[in-house]
């Protein structure tokens, strides 16, 4: 990227914004971190290049929107994809509660999170029906529940993945109503993830200041081992 001057900035604000980011040591670090793999945060830089031309953004935009098509068309597919994940989370917490591995405050937290996932299932089911779609069926699931520690780790993995899954779909959602609902759930998944990371002694923000999205393809591959049928 060439050094920018004022006239270049006037003509090409897109390029100069990136040039400034690369020149500035703080922004540069961030730029490097972003190019290291954070698609959503990289969208910030992509947005820097954005005017009316969106073609320059395609590489930064999370891909894989089509993966949700197996669950239905457009927003219905995205909602059913989310519903499948919420079913999985709900079943997971129910199994954990039954396992007897947790007591006291930790058990209360797990129950609470499980109840919230169940509310997400209800809301998403209603939303799919509202749009005239058929809600995805509840998958049969099986989770390895060996020790309290391994279960907490799995919970952390699942919640961080869930938050990334919603983030990965935000830009694909067409209806503002569906988007508002997805956002209201997305941040709750983020809260769950951070709480579990705290219990695990891990960073509450493993991706840094900008959370990373995950594509439906990545997410479905990660949860595949837990889906029996």
């Amino acid at each position: 990227m060439p050094e920018s001057n004022d006239s270049e900035q006037a003509q090409a604000p897109a390029q100069s914004a990136v040039a400034r980011a690369v020149k500035d040591p703080v922004s540069r670090r961030k730029f490097m971190a972003l190019t290291g793999g954070s698609a959503a945060a990289a969208a910030f830089l992509a947005a820097c290049g954005s005017d009316s031309d969106t073609t320059t953004m395609t590489s930064a935009k999370p891909a894989g929107g089509d993966e949700t098509a197996q669950f239905g068309k457009g927003d219905i597919g995205i909602l059913n994809y989310a519903l499948t994940l919420e079913y999985l989370e709900t079943a997971f917490y129910a199994d954990v509660v039954k396992s007897g591995l947790f007591k006291g405050a930790d058990l209360a937290t797990i129950k609470k999170f499980g109840e919230e996932e169940a509310e997400h299932v209800s809301a998403l089911t209603a939303a799919v029906k509202q749009l005239g779609g058929k809600p995805a069926p509840q998958p049969k699931t099986e989770f390895p529940l060996e020790s309290a520690k391994s279960v907490l780790e799995l919970a952390g993995t699942v919640e961080n993945l869930g938050a990334a899954a919603y983030l990965g779909q935000a830009g694909n959602i067409k209806s503002p109503e569906v988007l508002a609902s997805a956002l209201a759930i997305h941040s709750v998944e983020g809260r769950h993830a951070a709480a579990l990371n705290t219990l695990l002694g891990m960073s509450i923000t493993p991706d840094g200041a900008f959370a990373k999205p995950a594509t439906a393809k990545e997410v479905l591959k990660s949860v595949e081992p837990f889906i029996v049928s």
Partner: protein
């Protein structure tokens, strides 16, 4: 496209160059608004949706400047708290992390506003009223929860997919902060199954007492 009504005096003087609305989202929002009465009442999560869409429909630059004001507030709050909150141990580390994240949000939003041809809002002067660690934590919880709801309220009004992705990336981090601060306060990290959105006026009302 109509400009939003900017209740925050800090934002009034902002000279905004409209981003040339490229994406279908703006059309969708318009159609959605027209169909509003028909749809929202029956949606399961209706209350969240209604509030989210009550946000005045400004440009993406307006929304980003609104977010920038909140990030300035949080950034200033945590930076000051490094010494003023009298924290130690785990909390001290957490404050350092939050200060760093919020500063990065400020930088990213500023850069994005400029690149969209807008003028970033000036940093307001803040005045935080607390005298001890408990007072700090209480305010921190208010700011983080408000931040989450502010982004969730603004999200559906964002026209550009890229700006939406960026805002989503930030709001998840705010939610993570909120959960961590709530745990410090011995409160539920996620009190509700849905993070209800706040509209612009509600957010401004919440933060106004801290703008000097």
């Amino acid at each position: 496209m109509s400009h939003g009504e900017l209740a925050n005096p800090e934002l009034v003087g902002v000279e905004v160059v409209e981003d040339s609305g490229d994406l279908s989202r703006s059309d969708v929002i318009l159609k959605g608004a027209l169909a509003a009465g028909a749809v929202y009442g029956t949606f399961m999560v209706g209350p969240y949706v209604r509030k989210a869409l009550a946000m005045s429909g400004g440009s993406d630059v307006d929304i980003l400047n609104f977010a920038l004001t909140l990030e300035y507030l949080e950034s200033s709050f945590y930076d000051e708290a490094k010494t003023r909150a009298k924290a130690s141990g785990e909390l001290k580390g957490l404050i350092g992390l939050l200060a760093k994240d919020e500063q990065e949000h400020v930088e990213a939003l500023t850069a994005t506003i400029k690149s969209l041809g807008g003028k970033p809002v000036a940093e307001p002067k803040f005045n935080f009223d607390y005298s001890d660690t408990a007072g700090f934590l209480k305010l921190a919880q208010t700011f983080e929860d408000t931040g989450v709801s502010a982004y969730n309220g603004a999200g559906p009004m964002i026209k550009s997919k890229e700006v939406l992705a960026a805002a989503g990336s930030i709001v998840q981090v705010e939610a993570r902060h909120a959960a961590a601060i709530r745990l410090q306060n011995k409160e539920e990290p996620s009190p509700d199954a849905f993070d209800s959105p706040l509209d612009e006026a509600q957010v401004l009302k919440a933060v106004e007492p801290f703008i000097a």
